[in-house]
């Protein structure tokens, strides 16, 4: 009996030796965590560790080979690619999802579209009233907290690194943003595409309404790919994991976590 136990233990150790580490972007963290958990449910032998730290940290970890997969909300910089290649790592980009941000206003607002330029002007505090855009009243600017992934995406895609006006309300979740916009006639806010509901109105940006199609075909401006970088094409356990992420179940998880599926 004891011997059996021992053998069992040894076997389980051997089986559990299949390890995979994913490190990087906090924006991608929800997808990475949810898919890793679901994947491990299906493959009890696999042991996937998911860590945050930011896109840069993940890429640096891939370069010095301390992670198998680097998750990133931006493409790798040329400098990082050069460094990786010098270190014997051949970075391959796998786009596992799209990040799309919808700009929302109160249903009572007369405006139904906005240019990317005006949107930026509103958020940096240059446009303060709807009158300047053909509506009426004071604009109430609503933003997510500076530490959130949605803010990070918006900051990059809409503000292009310009500083957000300090008059903006900083709310703690996508749901709070949606609710406050629904309650406040003059409000403008932004949320992940999945949080758009009938209580609020999503604006066309540069004439394009956000949808899975316009985000995937690149016509909608406030969208960006979500990457998972590997050293060479994913093989072995990493290959299986990617097969799972790109499967129907995997892409459903992507959608549940507030992102746009790529397949």
């Amino acid at each position: 009996m004891k011997k059996m136990l021992l053998i069992g233990l040894l076997l389980s150790v051997c089986v559990f030796a299949q390890q995979l580490t994913i490190q990087g972007s906090t924006t991608v963290l929800p997808i990475a965590q949810a898919t890793a958990e679901a994947f491990m449910d299906d493959n009890p032998a696999a042991d996937i560790t998911v860590r945050g730290g930011g896109s840069g940290t993940g890429i640096a970890a891939l370069i010095d080979r301390s992670t198998d997969i680097a998750s990133s909300s931006r493409p790798m910089k040329t400098k990082e690619i050069a460094k990786a290649r010098e270190n014997g790592v051949n970075p391959v980009a796998n786009i596992i999802a799209m990040d799309g941000i919808a700009v929302i206003v109160n249903k009572g607002n007369a405006i139904s579209q906005i240019s990317a330029e005006d949107l930026k002007k509103i958020y940096v505090g240059e446009i303060k009233r709807w009158d300047q855009l053909g509506g009426g009243g004071t604009i109430v600017i609503i933003s997510r907290d500076a530490a959130s992934g949605t803010f990070e995406a918006f900051n990059e895609l809409a503000l292009h690194g310009a500083k957000l006006t300090d008059a903006a309300l900083m709310l703690a979740s996508n749901l709070e943003v949606a609710r406050t916009v629904a309650q406040t006639p003059g409000a403008i806010g932004y949320v992940g595409l999945g949080y758009v509901s009938d209580d609020i109105k999503a604006l066309k940006v540069d004439g394009i309404l956000p949808s899975p199609e316009t985000i995937n075909n690149g016509t909608y401006a406030l969208a960006r790919p979500i990457f998972m970088y590997t050293d060479g094409k994913p093989k072995g356990l990493a290959g299986k994991y990617f097969d799972f992420v790109f499967s129907k179940t995997g892409q459903e998880i992507v959608e549940e976590t507030g992102f746009v599926p790529v397949k």
């Binding site: 910089k77 040329t78 050069a82 460094k83 290649r85 010098e86 270190n87 790592v89 051949n90």
Partner: protein
């Protein structure tokens, strides 16, 4: 003129100091020496030294960022009373060029006291304690005062740079030197893990105090580096011409990481300072172990043996233990 440029640089460095995080490292070393010519060393064949301390800072402003490094080192081998050198190693402004970046990624002009991108010195981060070959044989400085254009190749397939320098290195920037040096470097990464690099450096050096008679000073180097998984193997060929004296040498370096904390290192250098003379060459064999104790502390143990072509001279060897502390 030159002095005023340096003053401006120092001023800029001081300004940037106020608004930038400071970081760097200190190297604390113990050396036990067994010299081949004991009469060269008056005392203290074994000693502790703070070989070097770097205090660095960098601003994150755009498109021009300013950075600097102050190098604190013990001037002598602690045989005399404490004799410290404090000097600027780097003080530079990086200007990321607009528009050019669309074709040449990260293209920038670097102004000031800066890195020399020559040969393997540029890549050498002291995995073993000895300096890179060109530095160890005093054929090249790791920093100099000048202007550079530096860019990455599109797609991250390598990098290229062209530099113009004063030519005397960073140790004597305030000297009234009258000769300039030009340096060109190209490195390519054809497949991940393999780097090929070529460098060429040339200047006209005055003989005596005037610039009437000048002699050629030329350095050229070829580097190949292979890195895959835990293995790094690198080789460099170095040639030099000083007037009509030609020198040549090569170095081979290998590192194997046993795990995240430990790695084994080996290096072989050969240098012949004048190819036309007999028995003036020497070689150097280095074996080392690195132990990364913590993120901030690297412990390095090296054994270094130097052998001379001159049969009358005995080989010398030394053991060095070093702690590199970064903050």
């Amino acid at each position: 003129m030159k002095r005023s440029i340096i003053m401006v640089m120092l001023g800029a460095a001081a300004l940037s100091f106020a608004d930038a995080p400071i970081y760097g490292y200190f190297w604390l070393r113990y050396t036990y020496e067994n010299p081949s010519q004991p009469e060269d060393v008056t005392s203290n064949a074994n000693y502790f030294s703070i070989e070097r301390g770097y205090i660095r800072w960098k601003t994150s402003t755009s498109p021009v960022s300013v950075s600097g490094t102050i190098d604190v080192s013990q001037a002598s081998k602690a045989t005399n009373k404490s004799d410290w050198n404090v000097r600027l190693k780097y003080a530079q402004a990086d200007w990321t060029l607009p528009h050019v970046g669309d074709y040449l990624p990260d293209a920038k002009l670097i102004l000031g006291l800066q890195k020399v991108y020559f040969g393997y010195v540029d890549r050498w981060e002291y995995p073993v304690l000895e300096k890179a070959l060109e530095d160890a044989e005093k054929k090249m400085n790791s920093a100099d005062l000048g202007v550079s254009f530096h860019t990455l190749l599109p797609g991250g397939y390598g990098e290229a740079s062209g530099q113009i320098f004063n030519g005397t290195g960073y140790s004597s920037v305030t000297e009234n030197n009258a000769y300039k040096a030009a340096c060109g470097n190209l490195s390519i990464l054809p497949i991940a893990g393999i780097m090929l690099k070529g460098s060429y450096w040339m200047s006209k050096k005055p003989v005596g105090d005037t610039i009437i008679t000048q002699v050629d000073e030329i350095r050229y180097a070829g580097v190949i580096q292979f890195r895959k998984g835990p293995v790094t193997i690198a080789g460099e060929y170095l040639g030099s011409t000083d007037d009509d004296v030609k020198g040549m040498g090569y170095t081979g370096f290998a590192e194997f990481s046993i795990n995240k904390a430990f790695s084994l290192l080996g290096r072989y250098d050969y240098w012949d300072g004048n190819t036309e003379l007999e028995s003036n060459a020497h070689n150097r064999v280095i074996a080392g172990v690195n132990w990364k104790v913590a993120k901030v502390l690297l412990t390095q143990l090296n054994y270094q043996l130097t052998q001379y072509e001159n049969e009358e001279r005995d080989p010398s060897d030394k053991i060095m233990l070093q702690f590199k502390y970064s903050y």
